[in-house]
C-alpha cells in the first residue's frame, strides 16, 4: 500500500496511457468519464440510503414494502441502477444485528450508499467480518449487548444488502429529514449505529 510520490506518478502514467489508447480507438469519451466521476463523487451516496431508512422509520406501509421487496420500494424514492439492481433490506432488532461484507471482492449497494469506503474493500475487513463481527465492531468502537445475535451477510452474487438500523430512542415526532440526518453510512453496512439522538 505504498503511497510515495514516485509510485503515484507511475499510476498516473499508466492510467493516462490507457486512457489515450482507449480514446484513440473510439472506446471511451472523455466527457463521459467526467460525468461518471461527477455522478459517483458528488451525487450518488449514503444520503440516498439514509432517506430510505428514514422513510421506513416513519411509514409502516413503506417499511412493509421495503422488507418484502426492496428493489421497487427503493426505486419509489428514485434510487435504482448499477450495483443496486437486486436489493434486499435487513432489519436490525434488539435480538439480531446485521452486518454486510463481500469476502470475495467489494460488492456494495452503490445506488443507496455510493462507492464503498476503503476499509470495506480491504482484506482486513473481508477476512474478519464473517468470523469475528464483534471484533470488527470493536475496531469501530462499538460494543453491542452480549444477547444480541450478529448475523453476517456475505454478498457473493449480484444481490445487494441494505441494513436498516433501529430507530434511536428519543426521536419521536422527528421529521423524516431530521431522521435521515442521523443515519450514518456505517449504520447501513452494520459496522455502525445511527448517531446519538
Amino acid at each position: 500500500m505504498s503511497e510515495d510520490h514516485s509510485h503515484l506518478g507511475d499510476m498516473e502514467v499508466r492510467v493516462r496511457a490507457l486512457q489515450s489508447l482507449l480514446e484513440q480507438q473510439g472506446l471511451v469519451d472523455a466527457a463521459a468519464l467526467d460525468e461518471l466521476v461527477a455522478l459517483y463523487e458528488h451525487e450518488v451516496g449514503p444520503q440516498n440510503g439514509a432517506k430510505v431508512v428514514a422513510r421506513a422509520w416513519v411509514d409502516e406501509a413503506y417499511a412493509a414494502r421495503l422488507f418484502d421487496d426492496a428493489t421497487p420500494a427503493i426505486a419509489e424514492l428514485g434510487f435504482s441502477g448499477r450495483q443496486g439492481e437486486h436489493m434486499v433490506a435487513l432489519a436490525n432488532t434488539p435480538e439480531v444485528h446485521n452486518m454486510v461484507v463481500c469476502t470475495l471482492c467489494s460488492c456494495y449497494p452503490w445506488s443507496v450508499l455510493g462507492l464503498p469506503p476503503t476499509w470495506y474493500k480491504t482484506p482486513a475487513y473481508r477476512a474478519k467480518a464473517v468470523a469475528d463481527p464483534r471484533g470488527v465492531l470493536e475496531d469501530f468502537g462499538i460494543a453491542l449487548p452480549e444477547a444480541t445475535r450478529i448475523r453476517v451477510w456475505d454478498s457473493t452474487a449480484e444481490v445487494r444488502y441494505l441494513v436498516v438500523p433501529m430507530r434511536p430512542a428519543g426521536t419521536a415526532g422527528w421529521s423524516e429529514e431530521a431522521l435521515a440526518a442521523i443515519v450514518t453510512r456505517d449504520s447501513m453496512i452494520g459496522t455502525g449505529l445511527p448517531v446519538a439522538a
Binding site: 482507449l22 469519451d29 459517483y40 463523487e41 471482492c105 468470523a131
Partner: protein, 206 residues
C-alpha cells in the same frame, strides 16, 4: 478458483482501520481508473464476471500489495490487451457519452433471467459441494463442504462461473443460505450465523 481474493475467515490482515472523513477518491488517477473501468464495462467487450475473474486471479503477492484501484487498473490493462484494443480488433456495443452516462447507470445491469425452476425451497437443508475449480467461482472456500439452510430463493440469475469464462450466462437459481457460524468456525466465533448467496450448481441436498 482458490485465489488471493477468497479470504473469508483468514488471519494476518490486521485490524479494520476506518479513515475519518475519507474522500471518495484519494488521487486523480483513481478517478480515471474508476471511470475508465465503468466506461469500458459499458462497451460490452467483456462481462462484469470476467472483469472480477481477472482481478481475482492476479498473483497473490501483487494482489496483496496493490491498493484497490491498482487492482482495478491492472485488471483493466489486461482486459484491454486480451480484447485486442491496440490492434483495432475491439468493436464496442455502445460508447458512453456525457448524455448517456446517467440513464445507463440508473438502468444498471440486472442479471435476473428466465431459467430452470429452483430445486430447493426455503427451509431445505443443503450442503455446498466440495470443489477446487481452477476457474472463476462465487462459492467461497469457507462454506465448501458445509451444511446450511436455504432462507430465501432469489430467483434465477446469470451464473458467474460460466459467464466469466465466456461460456454463456447459463442462468441458475440463486439462494440465500444460512450457516450456523459455529459449524464454520467452531465455538470461538462471535457471529451467530453467516448468510451466503449461492447458486444451485454449488449445492446438493444435505
Amino acid at each position: 478458483m482458490n485465489g488471493p481474493a477468497d479470504i473469508g475467515g483468514a488471519h494476518g490482515f490486521g485490524p479494520v482501520t476506518p479513515e475519518r472523513d475519507e474522500p471518495i477518491f484519494h488521487a486523480e488517477w483513481e478517478r480515471r481508473a474508476f471511470a475508465l473501468t465503468l466506461a469500458m464495462g459499458a462497451t460490452g467487450l467483456w462481462t462484469i464476471d470476467r472483469s472480477r475473474a481477472v482481478r481475482e486471479s492476479l498473483p497473490r503477492p501483487l494482489y496483496y500489495t496493490s491498493t484497490y484501484y491498482e487492482i482495478w487498473l491492472t485488471a483493466l490493462e489486461r482486459l484491454v490487451a486480451d480484447a485486442g484494443v491496440a490492434e483495432g480488433e475491439a468493436v464496442p456495443r455502445q460508447v458512453l457519452t456525457a448524455d448517456t452516462v446517467r440513464p445507463a447507470m440508473a438502468r444498471g445491469g440486472p442479471v435476473d433471467r428466465p431459467g430452470p425452476a429452483p430445486a430447493f425451497a426455503a427451509g431445505d437443508r443443503v450442503r455446498v459441494k466440495p470443489m477446487r475449480p481452477a476457474s472463476h467461482t462465487r462459492a467461497p472456500q469457507y462454506v465448501r463442504g458445509r451444511e446450511g439452510t436455504v432462507v430465501r430463493v432469489h430467483g434465477v440469475h446469470v451464473f458467474p462461473d460460466t459467464n466469466a469464462a465466456g461460456a454463456g450466462e447459463a442462468p441458475a437459481p440463486l439462494y440465500n443460505v444460512a450457516f450456523a457460524a459455529e459449524t464454520l468456525w467452531g465455538p470461538d466465533t462471535t457471529a451467530a450465523d453467516v448468510h451466503v448467496d449461492l447458486f444451485e450448481p454449488y449445492l446438493e441436498p444435505a
